[in-house]
Assembly symmetry: C2
Homo-oligomer: 241 residues x 2
Amino acid sequence: VTQNIYDNQKFFEKYQRLSRSLKGLAGAPEWPALRALLPALGGLRVLDLGCGFGWFSRWARQNGASRVLAIDVSRNMLMRARAETHDPAICYLRADLERLRLQSGSFDLVFSSLALHYVKNLRGLMWKARCSLGAGGRLVFSVEHPIYTAPSSPKWRTASGRRFWPVNGYLEEGPRSTDWLAKGVIKHHRTLATYLNMLLRLGFSISEVNEWGPTRRQIASQPGWADERQRPAFLLVAARR
Amino acid sequence: VTQNIYDNQKFFEKYQRLSRSLKGLAGAPEWPALRALLPALGGLRVLDLGCGFGWFSRWARQNGASRVLAIDVSRNMLMRARAETHDPAICYLRADLERLRLQSGSFDLVFSSLALHYVKNLRGLMWKARCSLGAGGRLVFSVEHPIYTAPSSPKWRTASGRRFWPVNGYLEEGPRSTDWLAKGVIKHHRTLATYLNMLLRLGFSISEVNEWGPTRRQIASQPGWADERQRPAFLLVAARR
Protein backbone atom coordinates (compact mmCIF):
# COMPACT_ATOMS: atom_id res chain seq x y z
CA VAL A 1 0.00 0.00 0.00
CA THR A 2 1.32 3.41 -1.00
CA GLN A 3 1.18 6.23 1.56
CA ASN A 4 -1.63 8.60 0.57
CA ILE A 5 0.02 11.82 1.70
CA TYR A 6 -1.98 13.96 -0.74
CA ASP A 7 -5.07 13.32 1.39
CA ASN A 8 -3.30 14.73 4.44
CA GLN A 9 -4.99 18.16 4.64
CA LYS A 10 -1.94 20.10 5.84
CA PHE A 11 0.20 18.62 3.07
CA PHE A 12 -2.47 19.19 0.46
CA GLU A 13 -3.07 22.82 1.36
CA LYS A 14 0.62 23.55 0.88
CA TYR A 15 0.82 21.42 -2.26
CA GLN A 16 -2.04 23.36 -3.82
CA ARG A 17 0.03 26.54 -3.58
CA LEU A 18 3.05 25.18 -5.50
CA SER A 19 3.69 26.63 -8.94
CA ARG A 20 2.95 23.28 -10.58
CA SER A 21 -0.44 23.13 -8.83
CA LEU A 22 -1.38 26.65 -9.83
CA LYS A 23 -0.03 26.72 -13.38
CA GLY A 24 -0.17 23.06 -14.33
CA LEU A 25 2.33 21.80 -16.89
CA ALA A 26 3.60 25.34 -17.49
CA GLY A 27 4.55 25.50 -13.81
CA ALA A 28 6.55 22.25 -13.94
CA PRO A 29 10.08 23.13 -15.08
CA GLU A 30 10.82 19.57 -16.23
CA TRP A 31 7.74 19.42 -18.47
CA PRO A 32 9.50 20.47 -21.72
CA ALA A 33 12.03 17.65 -21.21
CA LEU A 34 9.33 15.12 -20.35
CA ARG A 35 7.17 16.18 -23.30
CA ALA A 36 10.19 15.66 -25.59
CA LEU A 37 10.20 11.96 -24.60
CA LEU A 38 6.57 11.43 -25.62
CA PRO A 39 5.48 9.90 -28.90
CA ALA A 40 2.94 11.69 -31.11
CA LEU A 41 -0.30 11.18 -29.19
CA GLY A 42 -2.78 11.05 -32.08
CA GLY A 43 -5.15 8.13 -31.53
CA LEU A 44 -3.27 6.68 -28.57
CA ARG A 45 -4.95 5.06 -25.60
CA VAL A 46 -3.22 6.54 -22.57
CA LEU A 47 -2.84 5.39 -18.98
CA ASP A 48 -1.81 8.14 -16.53
CA LEU A 49 -0.46 6.65 -13.28
CA GLY A 50 -0.72 9.15 -10.43
CA CYS A 51 -2.62 11.71 -12.45
CA GLY A 52 -2.95 14.31 -9.69
CA PHE A 53 -5.04 17.25 -10.89
CA GLY A 54 -5.28 15.73 -14.37
CA TRP A 55 -3.11 18.30 -16.18
CA PHE A 56 -1.39 15.69 -18.31
CA SER A 57 -4.56 13.74 -19.04
CA ARG A 58 -6.27 16.84 -20.42
CA TRP A 59 -3.16 17.82 -22.37
CA ALA A 60 -2.99 14.32 -23.86
CA ARG A 61 -6.57 14.59 -25.06
CA GLN A 62 -5.98 18.07 -26.48
CA ASN A 63 -3.07 16.54 -28.37
CA GLY A 64 -5.05 13.74 -29.94
CA ALA A 65 -5.13 10.85 -27.47
CA SER A 66 -8.25 8.80 -28.11
CA ARG A 67 -8.93 8.12 -24.45
CA VAL A 68 -7.23 8.43 -21.09
CA LEU A 69 -7.55 6.34 -17.96
CA ALA A 70 -6.24 8.54 -15.15
CA ILE A 71 -5.55 6.96 -11.79
CA ASP A 72 -4.73 8.43 -8.43
CA VAL A 73 -5.08 7.33 -4.83
CA SER A 74 -5.90 10.80 -3.54
CA ARG A 75 -9.49 11.87 -3.11
CA ASN A 76 -8.35 15.51 -2.90
CA MET A 77 -6.51 15.37 -6.21
CA LEU A 78 -9.30 13.58 -8.05
CA MET A 79 -11.99 15.91 -6.74
CA ARG A 80 -10.24 18.88 -8.34
CA ALA A 81 -9.28 16.86 -11.46
CA ARG A 82 -12.91 15.93 -12.07
CA ALA A 83 -14.11 19.49 -11.41
CA GLU A 84 -11.70 20.83 -14.04
CA THR A 85 -12.34 18.19 -16.69
CA HIS A 86 -15.22 18.26 -19.16
CA ASP A 87 -14.23 15.44 -21.47
CA PRO A 88 -15.98 12.08 -21.45
CA ALA A 89 -12.91 10.40 -22.96
CA ILE A 90 -10.98 10.97 -19.72
CA CYS A 91 -11.91 8.53 -17.00
CA TYR A 92 -10.67 9.21 -13.49
CA LEU A 93 -10.32 6.25 -11.18
CA ARG A 94 -9.41 6.26 -7.53
CA ALA A 95 -7.06 3.35 -6.82
CA ASP A 96 -3.91 2.37 -4.99
CA LEU A 97 -1.29 1.92 -7.74
CA GLU A 98 -0.08 -1.23 -5.99
CA ARG A 99 -3.50 -2.90 -6.21
CA LEU A 100 -4.36 -1.94 -9.73
CA ARG A 101 -5.82 -4.41 -12.22
CA LEU A 102 -5.36 -3.58 -15.88
CA GLN A 103 -6.61 -5.25 -19.01
CA SER A 104 -3.95 -6.75 -21.23
CA GLY A 105 -3.03 -4.77 -24.37
CA SER A 106 -5.46 -1.99 -23.57
CA PHE A 107 -3.03 0.98 -23.80
CA ASP A 108 -0.48 2.46 -26.21
CA LEU A 109 1.20 4.79 -23.73
CA VAL A 110 1.73 4.47 -20.00
CA PHE A 111 2.68 7.81 -18.51
CA SER A 112 3.56 8.81 -14.98
CA SER A 113 4.80 12.10 -13.60
CA LEU A 114 6.52 12.18 -10.18
CA ALA A 115 4.42 9.40 -8.69
CA LEU A 116 6.40 6.15 -8.94
CA HIS A 117 8.84 7.03 -6.14
CA TYR A 118 5.87 6.74 -3.77
CA VAL A 119 5.24 3.15 -4.88
CA LYS A 120 6.83 0.41 -2.81
CA ASN A 121 6.23 -2.57 -5.11
CA LEU A 122 7.24 -0.85 -8.32
CA ARG A 123 8.21 -4.05 -10.07
CA GLY A 124 4.66 -5.34 -9.68
CA LEU A 125 3.22 -2.13 -11.10
CA MET A 126 5.67 -2.07 -14.01
CA TRP A 127 4.84 -5.66 -14.82
CA LYS A 128 1.16 -4.73 -15.03
CA ALA A 129 2.04 -1.63 -17.07
CA ARG A 130 3.94 -3.80 -19.53
CA CYS A 131 1.07 -6.25 -19.89
CA SER A 132 -1.36 -3.38 -20.40
CA LEU A 133 0.67 -2.12 -23.37
CA GLY A 134 0.31 -3.50 -26.86
CA ALA A 135 3.42 -4.44 -28.86
CA GLY A 136 5.48 -1.30 -29.53
CA GLY A 137 3.72 0.50 -26.69
CA ARG A 138 5.56 3.23 -24.83
CA LEU A 139 6.33 3.96 -21.23
CA VAL A 140 7.35 7.50 -20.27
CA PHE A 141 7.79 8.54 -16.67
CA SER A 142 9.51 10.92 -14.30
CA VAL A 143 10.54 10.26 -10.70
CA GLU A 144 12.65 12.04 -8.16
CA HIS A 145 16.22 11.25 -9.14
CA PRO A 146 18.01 8.62 -7.00
CA ILE A 147 20.72 11.17 -6.16
CA TYR A 148 17.89 13.32 -4.81
CA THR A 149 16.17 10.56 -2.83
CA ALA A 150 19.27 8.82 -1.42
CA PRO A 151 20.50 11.14 1.37
CA SER A 152 19.62 10.69 5.02
CA SER A 153 19.61 14.49 5.20
CA PRO A 154 18.49 15.80 1.80
CA LYS A 155 19.46 19.46 2.18
CA TRP A 156 22.02 21.65 0.47
CA ARG A 157 25.27 22.16 2.34
CA THR A 158 27.96 24.74 1.77
CA ALA A 159 31.74 24.40 2.02
CA SER A 160 34.43 26.76 0.72
CA GLY A 161 31.69 28.90 -0.77
CA ARG A 162 30.31 26.07 -2.93
CA ARG A 163 26.98 24.35 -2.55
CA PHE A 164 26.83 20.59 -2.62
CA TRP A 165 24.34 17.79 -2.12
CA PRO A 166 25.31 15.32 0.62
CA VAL A 167 24.91 11.88 -0.98
CA ASN A 168 24.92 8.88 1.31
CA GLY A 169 23.06 5.58 1.44
CA TYR A 170 22.79 5.57 -2.36
CA LEU A 171 23.15 1.81 -2.59
CA GLU A 172 20.78 1.14 0.32
CA GLU A 173 17.37 0.98 -1.31
CA GLY A 174 14.15 1.37 0.61
CA PRO A 175 11.86 3.93 2.20
CA ARG A 176 13.03 7.42 3.06
CA SER A 177 11.00 9.54 5.43
CA THR A 178 11.38 13.21 4.57
CA ASP A 179 9.77 16.43 5.67
CA TRP A 180 8.46 18.01 2.47
CA LEU A 181 5.33 20.11 2.99
CA ALA A 182 4.51 17.76 5.90
CA LYS A 183 6.46 15.57 8.29
CA GLY A 184 7.00 11.91 7.47
CA VAL A 185 6.44 11.83 3.71
CA ILE A 186 7.54 8.35 2.59
CA LYS A 187 9.40 7.98 -0.69
CA HIS A 188 11.05 4.81 -1.93
CA HIS A 189 14.68 5.20 -2.90
CA ARG A 190 15.95 3.01 -5.73
CA THR A 191 19.19 3.28 -7.64
CA LEU A 192 19.14 4.38 -11.25
CA ALA A 193 20.38 0.91 -12.20
CA THR A 194 17.39 -0.63 -10.42
CA TYR A 195 14.92 1.52 -12.36
CA LEU A 196 16.53 0.63 -15.68
CA ASN A 197 17.24 -3.05 -15.03
CA MET A 198 13.68 -3.54 -13.78
CA LEU A 199 12.38 -2.32 -17.15
CA LEU A 200 14.94 -4.32 -19.13
CA ARG A 201 14.06 -7.53 -17.28
CA LEU A 202 10.37 -6.94 -17.96
CA GLY A 203 11.14 -6.84 -21.67
CA PHE A 204 11.18 -3.08 -22.23
CA SER A 205 13.95 -1.53 -24.27
CA ILE A 206 15.25 1.82 -23.04
CA SER A 207 14.79 4.65 -25.56
CA GLU A 208 16.16 7.62 -23.63
CA VAL A 209 17.21 8.70 -20.15
CA ASN A 210 17.20 12.29 -18.93
CA GLU A 211 18.70 13.45 -15.65
CA TRP A 212 16.84 16.66 -15.34
CA GLY A 213 18.19 20.00 -14.24
CA PRO A 214 17.04 23.47 -15.32
CA THR A 215 18.44 24.86 -18.55
CA ARG A 216 20.55 28.03 -18.49
CA ARG A 217 17.58 29.84 -19.97
CA GLN A 218 15.32 28.66 -17.14
CA ILE A 219 17.90 29.79 -14.57
CA ALA A 220 18.12 33.20 -16.24
CA SER A 221 14.39 33.68 -15.58
CA GLN A 222 14.45 31.87 -12.19
CA PRO A 223 17.88 32.61 -10.61
CA GLY A 224 16.85 30.69 -7.47
CA TRP A 225 17.10 27.46 -9.46
CA ALA A 226 20.87 27.74 -10.05
CA ASP A 227 21.68 25.11 -7.39
CA GLU A 228 19.51 22.63 -9.24
CA ARG A 229 22.34 22.13 -11.71
CA GLN A 230 24.61 20.78 -8.96
CA ARG A 231 22.69 17.49 -9.01
CA PRO A 232 19.71 16.25 -11.00
CA ALA A 233 16.36 16.60 -9.26
CA PHE A 234 14.41 14.30 -11.57
CA LEU A 235 14.98 11.18 -13.59
CA LEU A 236 12.99 10.93 -16.84
CA VAL A 237 12.84 7.66 -18.76
CA ALA A 238 11.34 6.64 -22.08
CA ALA A 239 11.05 2.95 -22.87
CA ARG A 240 9.35 0.78 -25.43
CA ARG A 241 7.71 -2.56 -25.13
CA VAL B 1 44.26 13.45 -27.30
CA THR B 2 43.89 11.61 -24.01
CA GLN B 3 46.23 12.48 -21.13
CA ASN B 4 48.77 9.67 -20.78
CA ILE B 5 49.12 9.79 -17.00
CA TYR B 6 50.21 6.14 -16.76
CA ASP B 7 53.52 7.13 -18.36
CA ASN B 8 54.14 9.67 -15.59
CA GLN B 9 56.75 7.78 -13.55
CA LYS B 10 55.59 8.99 -10.13
CA PHE B 11 51.99 8.04 -10.92
CA PHE B 12 52.98 4.70 -12.38
CA GLU B 13 55.16 3.69 -9.44
CA LYS B 14 52.22 4.24 -7.08
CA TYR B 15 49.75 2.61 -9.48
CA GLN B 16 51.91 -0.51 -9.64
CA ARG B 17 51.46 -0.98 -5.89
CA LEU B 18 47.65 -0.95 -5.95
CA SER B 19 45.90 -4.22 -5.20
CA ARG B 20 44.51 -4.40 -8.74
CA SER B 21 48.03 -4.04 -10.18
CA LEU B 22 49.49 -6.71 -7.93
CA LYS B 23 46.66 -9.25 -8.02
CA GLY B 24 45.03 -8.50 -11.35
CA LEU B 25 41.34 -9.23 -11.73
CA ALA B 26 41.24 -10.84 -8.27
CA GLY B 27 42.39 -7.50 -6.83
CA ALA B 28 39.64 -5.52 -8.57
CA PRO B 29 36.56 -5.66 -6.32
CA GLU B 30 34.18 -4.83 -9.18
CA TRP B 31 35.44 -7.68 -11.36
CA PRO B 32 32.77 -10.25 -10.34
CA ALA B 33 30.05 -7.74 -11.31
CA LEU B 34 31.76 -6.85 -14.58
CA ARG B 35 32.35 -10.51 -15.43
CA ALA B 36 28.63 -11.16 -14.89
CA LEU B 37 27.88 -8.73 -17.74
CA LEU B 38 30.05 -10.58 -20.25
CA PRO B 39 28.75 -13.04 -22.82
CA ALA B 40 30.27 -16.52 -23.11
CA LEU B 41 33.62 -15.82 -24.71
CA GLY B 42 34.09 -19.03 -26.72
CA GLY B 43 35.27 -18.13 -30.21
CA LEU B 44 34.75 -14.37 -29.80
CA ARG B 45 37.04 -11.77 -31.33
CA VAL B 46 37.70 -9.29 -28.54
CA LEU B 47 38.81 -5.67 -28.50
CA ASP B 48 40.17 -4.47 -25.13
CA LEU B 49 40.22 -0.65 -24.97
CA GLY B 50 42.71 0.58 -22.36
CA CYS B 51 44.07 -2.88 -21.63
CA GLY B 52 46.60 -1.81 -19.00
CA PHE B 53 48.65 -4.80 -17.86
CA GLY B 54 46.55 -7.12 -20.04
CA TRP B 55 44.80 -8.98 -17.22
CA PHE B 56 41.49 -9.06 -19.00
CA SER B 57 42.98 -9.92 -22.40
CA ARG B 58 44.70 -12.99 -20.98
CA TRP B 59 41.57 -13.97 -19.03
CA ALA B 60 39.50 -13.66 -22.22
CA ARG B 61 41.85 -15.99 -24.07
CA GLN B 62 41.83 -18.49 -21.18
CA ASN B 63 38.04 -18.40 -21.44
CA GLY B 64 37.88 -19.18 -25.12
CA ALA B 65 38.22 -15.89 -27.01
CA SER B 66 39.67 -16.62 -30.45
CA ARG B 67 41.83 -13.50 -30.51
CA VAL B 68 42.28 -10.25 -28.63
CA LEU B 69 43.40 -6.86 -29.83
CA ALA B 70 44.51 -5.01 -26.69
CA ILE B 71 45.11 -1.28 -26.92
CA ASP B 72 46.65 1.17 -24.51
CA VAL B 73 48.36 4.53 -24.78
CA SER B 74 50.84 3.82 -22.00
CA ARG B 75 54.28 2.49 -22.81
CA ASN B 76 54.71 1.48 -19.15
CA MET B 77 51.55 -0.59 -19.10
CA LEU B 78 52.22 -2.30 -22.40
CA MET B 79 55.82 -3.14 -21.51
CA ARG B 80 54.62 -5.15 -18.53
CA ALA B 81 51.60 -6.56 -20.42
CA ARG B 82 53.88 -7.91 -23.17
CA ALA B 83 56.36 -9.33 -20.66
CA GLU B 84 53.58 -11.25 -18.92
CA THR B 85 51.86 -12.55 -22.05
CA HIS B 86 52.91 -15.62 -23.99
CA ASP B 87 50.01 -15.99 -26.38
CA PRO B 88 50.28 -15.13 -30.06
CA ALA B 89 46.51 -14.60 -30.25
CA ILE B 90 46.80 -11.50 -28.08
CA CYS B 91 48.08 -8.49 -29.97
CA TYR B 92 49.09 -5.42 -27.98
CA LEU B 93 48.96 -2.11 -29.76
CA ARG B 94 50.08 1.25 -28.45
CA ALA B 95 47.59 3.89 -29.56
CA ASP B 96 45.66 6.94 -28.40
CA LEU B 97 42.05 5.74 -28.07
CA GLU B 98 40.89 8.98 -29.70
CA ARG B 99 42.90 8.36 -32.84
CA LEU B 100 42.15 4.71 -33.30
CA ARG B 101 41.22 3.20 -36.65
CA LEU B 102 39.30 -0.07 -36.56
CA GLN B 103 38.15 -2.37 -39.29
CA SER B 104 34.40 -2.67 -39.72
CA GLY B 105 32.78 -5.83 -38.33
CA SER B 106 36.06 -7.20 -37.02
CA PHE B 107 35.03 -7.85 -33.38
CA ASP B 108 32.30 -9.62 -31.40
CA LEU B 109 33.00 -7.99 -28.05
CA VAL B 110 34.35 -4.55 -27.21
CA PHE B 111 35.49 -4.43 -23.61
CA SER B 112 36.91 -1.61 -21.52
CA SER B 113 37.75 -1.46 -17.84
CA LEU B 114 38.13 1.93 -16.14
CA ALA B 115 39.59 3.66 -19.17
CA LEU B 116 36.79 5.54 -20.94
CA HIS B 117 36.55 8.33 -18.36
CA TYR B 118 39.99 9.42 -19.55
CA VAL B 119 38.72 9.83 -23.11
CA LYS B 120 37.57 13.28 -24.15
CA ASN B 121 35.86 12.45 -27.44
CA LEU B 122 34.04 9.37 -26.24
CA ARG B 123 31.29 9.64 -28.82
CA GLY B 124 33.89 9.31 -31.58
CA LEU B 125 35.40 6.24 -29.95
CA MET B 126 32.00 4.62 -29.33
CA TRP B 127 31.04 5.23 -32.93
CA LYS B 128 34.16 3.39 -34.06
CA ALA B 129 33.49 0.65 -31.50
CA ARG B 130 30.02 0.19 -32.90
CA CYS B 131 31.26 -0.05 -36.47
CA SER B 132 33.93 -2.54 -35.41
CA LEU B 133 31.25 -4.86 -34.03
CA GLY B 134 29.29 -7.30 -36.15
CA ALA B 135 25.51 -7.49 -35.82
CA GLY B 136 24.61 -8.71 -32.32
CA GLY B 137 28.06 -7.72 -31.05
CA ARG B 138 28.46 -6.73 -27.42
CA LEU B 139 29.91 -3.77 -25.61
CA VAL B 140 30.79 -4.17 -21.93
CA PHE B 141 32.60 -1.47 -20.01
CA SER B 142 33.25 0.07 -16.62
CA VAL B 143 34.01 3.71 -15.84
CA GLU B 144 34.23 5.79 -12.72
CA HIS B 145 30.61 6.54 -11.82
CA PRO B 146 29.37 10.06 -12.64
CA ILE B 147 28.52 10.59 -8.95
CA TYR B 148 32.17 9.83 -8.27
CA THR B 149 33.59 12.08 -10.98
CA ALA B 150 31.24 15.07 -10.57
CA PRO B 151 32.45 16.82 -7.39
CA SER B 152 34.82 19.76 -7.37
CA SER B 153 36.23 18.28 -4.15
CA PRO B 154 35.87 14.47 -4.39
CA LYS B 155 36.54 13.55 -0.77
CA TRP B 156 34.38 12.04 1.94
CA ARG B 157 32.91 14.49 4.43
CA THR B 158 31.38 13.80 7.82
CA ALA B 159 28.38 15.45 9.49
CA SER B 160 26.40 14.28 12.51
CA GLY B 161 28.56 11.15 12.57
CA ARG B 162 27.59 10.11 9.03
CA ARG B 163 29.84 10.05 6.01
CA PHE B 164 28.64 11.58 2.78
CA TRP B 165 29.91 12.34 -0.69
CA PRO B 166 29.67 16.03 -1.65
CA VAL B 167 28.02 16.04 -5.08
CA ASN B 168 28.14 19.25 -7.07
CA GLY B 169 28.56 20.16 -10.72
CA TYR B 170 26.87 16.90 -11.73
CA LEU B 171 25.17 18.44 -14.75
CA GLU B 172 28.28 20.36 -15.84
CA GLU B 173 30.12 17.90 -18.04
CA GLY B 174 33.78 18.22 -18.90
CA PRO B 175 37.28 17.66 -17.55
CA ARG B 176 37.97 17.28 -13.84
CA SER B 177 41.50 17.65 -12.56
CA THR B 178 42.02 15.47 -9.49
CA ASP B 179 44.96 14.44 -7.37
CA TRP B 180 44.93 10.64 -7.43
CA LEU B 181 48.39 9.09 -7.14
CA ALA B 182 49.70 12.26 -8.83
CA LYS B 183 48.60 15.87 -9.16
CA GLY B 184 46.52 16.95 -12.12
CA VAL B 185 45.05 13.66 -13.32
CA ILE B 186 42.43 14.59 -15.93
CA LYS B 187 39.17 12.65 -16.05
CA HIS B 188 36.15 13.57 -18.15
CA HIS B 189 32.91 13.84 -16.22
CA ARG B 190 29.74 12.85 -18.06
CA THR B 191 26.29 12.24 -16.63
CA LEU B 192 24.90 8.74 -16.56
CA ALA B 193 22.24 9.86 -19.05
CA THR B 194 24.99 11.00 -21.43
CA TYR B 195 26.70 7.61 -21.32
CA LEU B 196 23.45 5.78 -22.01
CA ASN B 197 21.96 8.15 -24.59
CA MET B 198 25.25 8.18 -26.50
CA LEU B 199 25.00 4.41 -26.89
CA LEU B 200 21.29 4.49 -27.73
CA ARG B 201 21.81 7.14 -30.44
CA LEU B 202 24.61 5.05 -31.95
CA GLY B 203 22.17 2.18 -32.32
CA PHE B 204 23.14 0.10 -29.28
CA SER B 205 20.46 -1.33 -27.06
CA ILE B 206 21.18 -1.31 -23.34
CA SER B 207 21.24 -4.80 -21.77
CA GLU B 208 22.14 -4.00 -18.18
CA VAL B 209 23.42 -1.21 -15.95
CA ASN B 210 25.28 -1.75 -12.69
CA GLU B 211 26.13 0.99 -10.21
CA TRP B 212 28.85 -0.78 -8.38
CA GLY B 213 29.48 -0.83 -4.68
CA PRO B 214 31.02 -3.62 -2.60
CA THR B 215 28.76 -6.44 -1.47
CA ARG B 216 28.18 -7.02 2.23
CA ARG B 217 30.42 -10.07 1.92
CA GLN B 218 33.24 -7.98 0.47
CA ILE B 219 32.86 -5.44 3.27
CA ALA B 220 33.01 -8.22 5.85
CA SER B 221 36.46 -9.16 4.53
CA GLN B 222 37.50 -5.53 3.86
CA PRO B 223 35.82 -3.36 6.52
CA GLY B 224 37.56 -0.27 5.13
CA TRP B 225 35.27 -0.42 2.10
CA ALA B 226 32.08 0.24 4.06
CA ASP B 227 31.88 3.85 2.89
CA GLU B 228 31.83 2.66 -0.69
CA ARG B 229 28.16 1.77 -0.26
CA GLN B 230 27.29 5.43 0.38
CA ARG B 231 27.67 6.16 -3.33
CA PRO B 232 28.60 4.02 -6.32
CA ALA B 233 32.26 4.17 -7.31
CA PHE B 234 31.88 2.57 -10.72
CA LEU B 235 29.34 2.43 -13.51
CA LEU B 236 29.21 -0.86 -15.44
CA VAL B 237 27.24 -1.10 -18.68
CA ALA B 238 26.42 -3.94 -21.05
CA ALA B 239 24.98 -3.10 -24.46
CA ARG B 240 24.30 -4.86 -27.71
CA ARG B 241 24.61 -3.72 -31.25
